[in-house]
């Protein structure tokens, strides 16, 4: 019943994402080098690491954008993500927020949410899609959560940078994923916006498993979650922020030799 899943992991419950021995190379450069980690249900993780440590590639592998050269990636113990494409993985319940805010600028805020709203994704289902009162209510609810009720009919392109980030987080929420990947959710935000965002993320955690990739140490500290340090495509250190900050290897990587 657990197709192709290693038995040791099948036995262990509560693991939503299982990544083992993943290697990805581009023209000889190893972006990921035998990377292994697990994500548990309902927990939030922060991933940090210098440029080129493989943070983005790691998300690319899990969300189906990049196929690993070797290694295993399993979602909820049964779905082999290395065999699925982006759309299928998204439909399984893995959401992703990009580093650059990527909302659809020529659609309204409302339409952006409607596109993300959990529903059938086929072309014919879209042709005959109707915005039922339940769906409208769900959109209203998320609009309230992300504080964009007043901008419902505004073109997403006209939003401020921070509002776009929230809209994108809102789009993730309305997809109702079980696992979220957030790439630098507070990049370019003001302090006040950063504060609101970390509040928003704490709300989300608990209902969902969340992996946050971030450079901003203050923000990571505010999140107060388990931290994973990536370096040259593999895990360098894991633990609380204080723990990893005192790790010799981490200091060496960050401060240079």
């Amino acid at each position: 019943m657990n197709v192709g899943l290693p038995e040791a992991i099948a036995a262990e419950q509560g693991i939503v994402l299982y990544v083992d021995g993943v290697t990805v190379s581009f023209d000889g450069f190893k972006a990921l080098n035998n990377l292994s980690y697990t994500v548990r249900t309902g927990e939030m993780y922060a991933v940090i690491g210098p440029n080129g440590a493989g943070k983005t590639t790691m998300m690319d592998v899990v969300t189906g954008k990049t196929r690993p050269d070797s290694g295993q990636v399993y979602f909820k113990q049964v779905h082999d993500l290395t065999r699925l494409d982006e759309a299928a993985i998204a439909n399984l319940g893995i959401g992703r927020k990009f580093q650059k805010p990527t909302v659809f600028e020529n659609h309204t805020v409302m339409e952006n949410l409607e596109l993300a709203l959990k529903s059938k994704r086929g072309p014919f289902a879209s042709l005959f899609f109707r915005l039922t009162p339940e769906r409208a209510d769900r959109i209203d609810e998320v609009l309230t959560t992300i504080g964009l009720t007043g901008q419902r009919q505004a073109m997403a392109g006209t939003l401020s940078h921070g509002q776009k980030q929230w809209l994108e987080i809102g789009m993730l929420l309305i997809q109702e994923p079980e696992l979220l990947f957030l790439d630098e959710p507070v990049a370019g935000m003001t302090d006040a916006e950063t504060e609101q965002t970390s509040e928003l993320l704490r709300q989300i955690a608990g209902k969902h498993s969340v992996v946050v990739v971030e450079h901003d140490m203050a923000f990571v500290r505010a999140l107060d979650v388990k931290v994973t340090v990536l370096h040259e495509g593999s895990v360098l250190a894991e633990g609380s922020l204080d723990h990893v900050q005192n790790d010799e290897k981490v200091i060496e990587v960050y401060l240079g030799r």
Partner: protein, 552 residues
């Protein structure tokens, strides 16, 4: 007719040959008198005297001998009764026009009663023919000997066998020797002796020649009542075997020929595509007017040649050496103007660029049509590009194609050098990899863009010079190459010049290998469909870039 060696002839011949060689340096009066006497003997002597005279005349190697003997064999050699003049007679409306064999001058028109035809019976004609064959087969010029051997091969004249064998014994040149052996075997194939025929078939089997194939195939033809043209079974078996061997070698040669044609087509494609590989591959600009840059180059060649014709016709052979840089400059300048005037406003919008440059291509075509007229323009080939090399298996390699292959490789190598070794090349690579960073380091990106585009266009212009040698120079010249060029670049992998090289040659060769089976048009269609399918399989082409560079 039985084949045997005429000993007297050989003797006389050998003697004459020695004399001839000794006397060769200058034609003295004494020799001239001797020649005249031999001619007289030919006209009046008895059979033996005539035979000896023929041999002696042949040995002189004198150019007058051949037409004389040919005329004699054709019964066109006459003796004028009044003065004993020996002359070739040509039928004329007014009578017989005589041409003096000694001077080569006309000697008046006479009635047939005034002259005696110099008689030659069948046997004499055989001797003459053999003598003629020997004469050319022993010619000091190897090319003449080769030609003579080919002639004997084609005629399969048994009378030439003796001469052929003598010549073969003395021949030192390998190519001529081979041709003579081929001719000998071809004659022996007609022999009545099955052993000789078998020997001939075996000798022929080592040649690769469509003529020999049909010759051998003729042996195996069955007529209606089932008898073979060749009666001897062993000979037939040998012929079948020889045919197979020849067929295999011919097929190999044909394939080699197709590959050569493919390389030739590939070099044309590469020339047309290489500029595109710069503008599209390196800069990401879809320049639909690229074909028109090629056309501008071709018209520049036309103009340059016109100037040469008008002002220094003696130097016409060098016109292409002026046309190449001129075409580069004209097309390059046009390219810079296009980049500055249109394309720079459209960076990052490839589809819009495609449309604008397409519009530009329409304008350029119409402009050229208005200036030069809609018809094809004549572009001449310099003398050193004319002619061809012919191989034994009937494959022709024309010099212009060879030069274009060479030219294309030189251009390609030059371009690689420019990109790797010059400051412009360095700046170009810097700008394409990271425009912002390049700008920050003080590179004037606008200038680099314009020069890069100019370089790509200039190369297209040089391609136009080459294409003007093999294609019609008309306003539509560019149109016929643009689609192929894009496919070459896309097939090879955008942004990779070596990919473009591989793409051009593999498409060219694939096209030419398919042609004999599918025909030119269907072959091309198959290649197009194959590319469409290939791009589905490898959307980034043969040599794709991987990793982050792709995302940019």
């Amino acid at each position: 007719m039985p084949i045997r060696v005429n000993r007297a002839l050989v003797l006389a011949f050998a003697l004459a040959l020695v004399l001839g060689v000794l006397a060769a340096p200058s034609r003295s009066l004494a020799q001239e008198a001797e020649f005249a006497e031999l001619v007289a003997t030919l006209a009046t002597g008895d059979f033996a005297e005539k035979t000896a005279a023929i041999a002696a005349l042949t040995a002189t190697g004198d150019p007058r001998v051949q037409p004389m003997l040919e005329a004699m064999a054709d019964r066109r050699l006459y003796l004028r009764e009044e003065d004993g003049l020996v002359a070739i007679g040509e039928d004329d409306a007014e009578g017989l026009r005589l041409i003096d064999v000694l001077t080569g001058e006309e000697a008046g028109i006479v009635g047939s009663r005034d002259v005696d035809r110099i008689r030659a019976n069948n046997r004499m004609r055989g001797i003459i023919r053999s003598a003629l064959g020997t004469m050319t087969l022993m010619n000091p010029d190897a090319a003449v000997r080769l030609e003579a051997a080919e002639t004997v091969f084609r005629s399969q004249d048994e009378g030439a066998l003796d001469a052929l064998e003598q010549a073969l014994a003395a021949e030192a040149d390998d190519a001529v020797r081979a041709a003579m052996e081929k001719a000998r075997a071809a004659i022996l194939l007609g022999s009545e002796d099955a052993v000789l025929r078998l020997e001939a078939v075996e000798a022929l089997s080592s040649f690769t020649d469509p003529d020999i194939r049909s010759m051998l195939a003729a042996l195996l033809v069955q007529d209606q009542d089932g008898t073979f043209a060749e009666t001897d079974e062993a000979v037939r078996a040998a012929a079948t075997e020889a045919l197979d061997a020849i067929e295999q070698r011919l097929a190999l040669w044909r394939t080699a020929g197709h590959i050569y044609q493919g390389i030739s087509l590939g070099s044309v494609l590469l020339l047309a595509a290489i500029g595109l590989a710069i503008t599209f591959g390196v800069m990401g600009v879809i320049n639909m007017a690229h074909g028109e840059m090629v056309m501008l180059g071709a018209y520049t060649t036309f103009v340059v040649q016109q100037l040469f014709r008008d002002y220094m016709p003696g130097l016409f052979d060098f016109s292409l050496f002026v046309a190449i840089p001129a075409a580069f400059l004209v097309a390059g300048a046009a390219g810079v103007a296009i980049e500055r005037g249109i394309i720079r406003f459209l960076y990052g919008r490839p589809l819009e660029t495609l449309l604008a440059t397409w519009g530009l291509s329409l304008i350029l075509q119409q402009l050229v049509r208005t200036v030069f007229g809609p018809t094809n323009r004549e572009v001449g080939a310099p003398s050193w590009m004319q002619g061809a090399i012919e191989t034994t298996a009937g494959i022709t390699l024309t010099y212009n194609r060879l030069y274009i292959i060479l030219f294309c490789l030189i251009v390609f190598a030059g371009l690689i050098m420019v990109l790797r070794r010059t400051p412009l090349g360095l700046q170009m690579r810097a700008v394409t990899q990271n425009r912002q960073m390049a700008k920050a380091m003080g590179i004037r990106t606008g200038r680099v863009d314009a020069l890069t585009f100019g370089l790509g266009s200039g190369i297209a212009g040089m391609a136009g010079v080459a294409l003007s040698q093999i294609d019609n120079v008309s306003p539509n010249l560019g149109q016929s190459y643009i689609i192929d060029s894009f496919l070459v670049v896309v097939f090879g992998g955008v942004g990779n010049l070596w990919g473009t090289l591989a793409g051009a040659f593999s498409l060219g060769i694939a096209n030419k290998l398919l042609e004999p089976y599918a025909g030119a048009v269907l072959g091309k269609i198959l290649v197009l469909v194959a590319i469409i399918l290939f791009i589905q399989k490898r959307p980034r082409g043969l040599f794709a870039l991987k990793g982050r560079a792709v995302e940019a």
